[in-house]
Symmetry: C2
Subunit: 138 residues, 2 copies
């Protein structure tokens, strides 16, 4: 990902956000990082959407360059690379919860994750606190 001034199509924040997030895969990786605690390349490949190796490599690189995830050596196994969400990544949770709400409402057959949506809507602050806690527990 180059700097925003190089890639921005306009100064509109919707457009600027979509310059970074606007594709079919980036927010699925964010979902997996935040909600499923996925940390390794193979973990992301195992998601039901079956992302291809080259798209996954490309998006992980862009997410790292955009400071949405941190990539480092796994302290438990120096031959493995581990990916961790940043604060900028966690701040995408409300956006993802809106995709959950809209998708579940309008796309027949999509699992509702009703419990997840309800918890977020009832108390978004507590919901975020629980997500943070789950990250630190690992």
């Amino acid at each position: 990902m180059t700097t925003s001034s190089q890639i921005s199509r306009s100064f509109c924040p919707v457009s600027c956000a979509l310059d970074i997030l606007g594709d079919k895969w980036t927010l699925l990786i964010v979902r997996d990082l935040v909600f499923s605690g996925k940390r390794y390349f193979g973990d992301f490949q195992n998601s039901p959407e079956k992302i291809s190796t080259n798209i996954l490599s490309n998006r992980l690189k862009k997410l790292e360059e955009g400071h949405i995830l941190l990539r480092h050596r796994d302290p438990a196994n120096a031959r493995k690379v581990i990916y961790m969400p940043t604060e900028k990544c966690l701040d995408l949770v409300p956006l993802i919860m809106e995709l959950v709400r809209w998708g579940a409402k309008y796309v027949p057959g999509s699992n509702v994750h009703k419990n997840l949506s309800q918890r977020f809507e009832q108390d978004p602050v507590e919901f975020m606190a629980e997500i943070r806690q789950s990250l630190y527990r690992e």
Copy 2:
């Protein structure tokens, strides 16, 4: 847009929503329909992101097939085609406001639309009522 069962990569509502919305242009058209009251093909082309004719045609067709907009003859000029947002389209406003919030926070140089964000955060119900009112005023 084919039916959701034909295109869905998984049953996850995030993935299902991204099957429809996950690109750099679709939500800009929704933004223009809802926030700028754009109604004609040329209006969308005049946005600062300068969408190309073929991408615009493709996305308008998909949005119509997905019941996110209605396409009909302009009552004021039968030779012109007019596009109108549906309820499913208006229900994307909270998602767009999340893009506004995240984009303005993290992408340097993006206009903040602070007033818009504040109004939405303070009273989303009133905010939506105002948007609906602006649609009916036209």
